[in-house]
Every structure is written in structure tokens, then in C-alpha cells.
């Protein structure tokens, strides 16, 4: 099974004629992703590696009935690109740019609640269901198909974990880049239920970090709704207060809100296995003996 995307998922690439859009578009096609259309204003009617390009997402959607759209556009155009995709009725919108203004994302998030679209990112590598499809720019060779479902606010910690899992013969069902920003389009809580219901997924890995309260919200959800084992890593335990650690969202407030300690306590109380580092995640999964 896997969640969000698979070999049948029809994908639109917004910004397909740009440098990044073309480069990663080709990689996605090679991986087996069903890219059905591209969108670049002013380039409608042309083609990129045999894939039709449209001027608008609406036209691309009407012609292809795509399931998802990914935005390879600069941060300042991410909000408008996401509006266009949501307005056209695309159910899954994947944004990857770093440095999208937080007010833009606040707006995208609140509009997604009214259109019913699901938004992943920004500041994310995208989403991949190994062996089936990828929508993003992740280094796909390290992924293998299997039964660990992963979601991560950090790309590097996620790659590291996936690499170690694969080297230990443990594959992944779906891996989601939640993104490192203050207001992500969706958070852990939006995927826990899906992983719980997914037959392929046997273990859920949550890679969080300091800042915000998405891990705490996930803990409350897990306690009530998740029976599968969950392993969590919270990065940034030793970050100074009030200092952003590179990800815009990775910041502990002066009053201590968003601290790693609070997140770990809540997750632990919900029965989640807490890992000290990426290598420890793999060790815990091995010890669980369920994959």
C-alpha cells in the first residue's frame, strides 16, 4: 500500500521548464513517477521530455485529473503557486522551497483548510514511496521499499536514518518531508492516522526537533489512536534558547516553549520509543523485531 503517493499517482510539476523543475522532473520520471503535465505561465503548448506544458494549473488539471502537484518555484512565488493548485482542486500540493515568508504560509495553511487540499512543506524534500513513486528532490538511491513509515522536519536527519535503515536491510513504506519552517502546510498529526491504517507500514518513525508544538500534538494523537510502535528522535536538545538553529522553525522560545525535553516527555508518556540519535533509531527498530 504505502500512503499519499504510489505508482498510480498522477503528478503535475509547476515550474517544469525552470532549471530545477527540469532537472528533478527527469529524475522523478526515471524513478517511475507518473508525471502527467507541467505548468509554466507563458510556455503553454510546449513539451518537456514529451510531457505537455500548460499555462495554468486549472487547464493541466482538467486535461489530466492529476492527484498531486509539486512546486519547483522560488520562495516568493510559492504561495501564489500553492493558491493556484488548491484553487484548481488538486488534492495534494507539495512545496519544497526554503525561505518562504511565514505570512505566506499562514495564508496557504488557512486556505487549505477551506479548499480541503493537503499541503506538504515548504522547506521540504517532498514525499517518496520507495519503489513506487517520488515527488521531490530526495537522493532516491538510499531508499528501499519496506515497512517503516517516516516523517521528518529535517532532511539531513531523515536521509541519515533512511541510509542506515537500508544498509541494515530495513525498507520504508512512505517517507514524508514535513519541512523545517514555522508553519508547515501539514504536520505529524496529519499522517499518523494514515500510517496506522496502512497495511504496509509496521513501524512509524517521527523525526522532530525543537520549536512549536507539533510533536506534543502528535503525542496526544498517538496515545488515543495509534497501536503500531512509534520511534521518535527530537533534535536540538542543546540549542540555546531564543536562537534559531538554521531551520526557521527550530527555536525554543525564551519562556521554554518548544523545548526538546517537553516533547520527549509527552511522547514517552504516549508510549513512544525515544531515540538519542539516528543510529539509535535503527537499533530500536531492530530490537522491536516487527519488520
Amino acid at each position: 500500500m504505502s500512503i499519499l503517493i504510489d505508482e498510480k499517482t498522477k503528478l503535475i510539476i509547476q515550474g517544469i521548464t525552470g532549471r530545477e523543475g527540469t532537472f528533478h522532473g527527469q529524475r522523478m520520471l526515471e524513478y517511475g513517477t507518473k508525471v502527467v503535465a507541467g505548468v509554466t505561465p507563458g510556455k503553454g503548448g510546449s513539451e518537456v521530455f514529451g510531457i505537455p506544458v500548460y499555462d495554468t494549473v486549472r487547464e493541466a488539471y482538467l486535461k489530466t485529473k492529476a492527484d498531486a502537484s509539486i512546486l519547483f518555484v522560488p520562495p516568493k512565488f510559492t504561495a501564489i503557486g500553492a493558491y493556484e493548485a488548491m484553487d484548481a482542486g488538486i488534492p495534494l500540493v507539495i512545496t519544497i522551497a526554503e525561505h518562504v515568508p511565514v505570512h505566506d504560509m499562514m495564508s496557504v495553511y488557512n486556505i487549505s483548510k477551506s479548499t480541503g487540499s493537503r499541503v506538504i512543506g515548504p522547506n521540504s524534500f517532498g514525499v517518496i514511496s520507495p519503489g513506487k513513486s517520488k515527488a521531490g528532490f530526495m537522493h532516491d538511491k538510499i531508499f528501499t521499499q519496506g515497512s517503516v513509515g517516516i516523517m521528518s522536519r529535517s532532511a539531513t536527519n531523515c536521509y541519515e536514518t533512511v541510509f542506515l535503515l537500508t544498509n541494515n536491510g530495513i525498507g520504508q513504506s512512505t517517507v514524508i518531508g514535513i519541512g523545517g519552517d514555522m508553519i508547515p502546510g501539514s504536520a505529524f498529526i496529519d499522517y499518523l492516522g494514515m500510517f496506522e491504517a496502512d497495511e504496509q507500514t509496521k513501524v512509524i518513525v517521527l523525526i522532530g526537533e525543537i520549536g512549536g508544538s507539533d510533536e506534543e500534538a502528535a503525542a496526544a494523537f498517538i496515545r488515543e489512536n495509534v497501536k503500531k510502535p512509534v520511534v521518535a528522535l527530537i533534535a536540538g536538545k542543546n540549542a540555546p534558547r531564543g536562537t534559531s538553529m538554521g531551520h526557521a522553525g527550530a527555536i525554543v522560545s525564551a519562556d521554554g516553549t518548544g523545548s526538546a525535553q517537553n516533547k520527549e516527555e509527552k511522547l514517552l508518556a504516549a508510549g513512544v520509543h525515544i531515540a538519542e540519535g539516528t543510529e539509535h533509531i535503527v537499533q530500536i527498530i531492530k530490537d522491536l523485531k516487527c519488520v
Partner: protein, 385 residues
Amino acid sequence: MCKMKLLEYMGKELLSNFGITVQKGVVISSVEEVSQRARDLKPPFVLKVQILAGGRGKAGGIRFADDIKGAEKICSELLGKEMRGCIVKKILIAQKAEVKTEWYLSIILDRQSKCPTVIFSSLGGIDIEQTAKTDPGRIAKITINPLIGIKDYVARYIIESCGLDRKHLDELNQIVCNLYRLFNEYDCTLAEINPLAVAGDGSLMAIDCKADIDDSSLFKHPDILEFRNTIDENPLTIEARKFNFLYIPLDTEGDIAVASNGSGMLMSCIDLITKNGMKACAALDLGGGATSERIAEAVKIIFKNKTTDYLFISIFGGITRCDEVAMGVKLAIEAGLNDKTVILRLEGTNKAEALKITQSINGNVIDVKSISEGVKTLKSGRKNI
């Protein structure tokens, strides 16, 4: 950095531009300017140091003067002085306001609701966190749906729930709406007026102001961007920014710097180092795709901090090529950093080529296979452990 904090006088300039009344005042950066610039102000004056640190009052950074002479004396005392870790470079001289009551008003970008939230308290002049603990009944908190924005019922609710006189409704509504406009137009994560003073005649005035602006939006605000370079920051942070690196100073007692191609891995490396009883003094985020020339600059910047003896570089290379990283380390180490130790953990693109390069480095560079091996090497290699 993810947000830029504005100094009080800049925040007040914005408030004033958005129609919110502030005290008449001027900013000076030398004693000589005082008599010239403050001559149109009506004494008595309040003088406030312009630094990005809290607790200015307690530190003696807010003073009063009856005339220009007195103001000059205070300015000569305070300018150039270190206060709460900042050097006083500017002082705001303002007409002392008549204050009967002090309120608190702010709009924050709330991460939990993912909406702007208006916070009002009829107890101003102190931290809102303190009021929340001691007097929660005097706080009104209203989550704003950004698709609706602020309408007049927000101010009406504040007046009603805090039990204030209805005569303040119109003016409070104006201020709340204007502050919301500023919050949106300047991409604020925080816009705070504290205290919001109520004068004897009932009129309202912003006495102090904090504004935090989202870093990612600065391309829209050239006026703010210009100010950024005048802020006191770690000189290595400023130097690193020239090369598009993020340098974060950490524990001043640490001797290990950590560099990586992503902030998540940086944080988890620092966590493991700390867990093993060592201290990290700095973190440097290389971002993706750095060339050997840029890596060499990063290594040089890191070792400019005198307490840094060890550098742990952990790379999981997709866009970042391991051979470029190894070559960058070679360039920097062989250019006069042979007394330093670099622990290299390289994984991903062009790893094999990278290992050949590191073996050729004339200096103290150790290859490790994993993050935990790197931490172990650091622990056994350091004399004082």
C-alpha cells in the same frame, strides 16, 4: 536567524507611519547632537538606550532629565557603555508622557493555531507571561482568522471581557486595526505595544514597542534589510553570512565546532557531543552544494574563534559532493591550520574520491565512518577528558 528584531525607535517609527500615536522624540548617537536635535522637544525628557535586550530599566538604561543639560549629561554617561551584553550606540530622547493607566497590546503569529493572535491585558508595563501567571483574568486573547482579518468586534470583546470603560472603544479599535495592518504589511511574527498608556483625558499612546520581522520576507522590506547590518552580532556570524553560511555561536566554554550540510544533522550531532560530556562552541550550516573554495572559507572562519580546537564535519551528501568537502578541508588546513584537528564523516556523492583526498592532507585530519564513531574519536582524542 529566522526573525529580525527592531530597536524601539524603529518600531515606533513604523507605529507612527501606521497612525498609532507615539511620544514625540529624537534618536541621537553622540552627545553633540543632543542640544541641536532635542531643542524642539518639550521637557521633561525620558531617555532610553536603544539596545536589543530586555530589562533596560533595571540596568539603568531608562533615565529622566529636566532639561537639555541634564539630557546631555545622561547621554555622555550611557553612550558607549556596555549594557546587558550590548554596547549603547543610540539613545532615544522623548517627551515624558502623562500616564494614568498602562495596558498591554500585541499581535503574534501563533504557531499552534497557525493564525495571528491578539493579546490584550489591562495590566501593562510588565511581561505578559508574568500577568498570565498572576492575573490571567486581566488578559484577553483572540485568535484571528486571517481570511476574515480584524473587525470591530475584536476591540469590543477586549473592552467587554476586561471590564474597561466603553469610551475607549473607538480609539482602541483604531489601534488594534492599525497594528494588524502593520503586522501584515511588515510580515511580523510579533508586534507589541507595552505599555500602551492611557492619559488623564482617556487618549491612548504607545510608550514602548517591540517588532520581530520574518527573515524570509526581508526582500519585501529594503528599509528593514538596510538596518540589519547595523545590528550587533557575532563578527564570525557576519563573516559567514557573506559566504551564505549560517554560523551560530554556542557554549563559550566549548572547544568543538560542528559543521554539516543541514541544520537537523547539526542539531543531532551537537546533542550527541553534549550527551558524551563534551561542549560544542559553534555550529555552522553549510547548506547544499558548497564548493571546495567555500568549504575552505568555512573552515577558516570556524578556526578564527580562538577557543575552537576541534572541528567535526558531518556530511550526508546529495547535492553536496564529498570530494569538494575534502578538498576544501585540505586547502584550509594546509594554509596554516596544521595545529587543529578535523574529524571528517563523509557519506554520499563521490565518497571514494573524498577519502583519497583526505589521506593526502598534510595535517591532523581523521576520517570516521559514522556520527557515533566521530563522537567517540573526539572523546578519546581530547586531552582534558
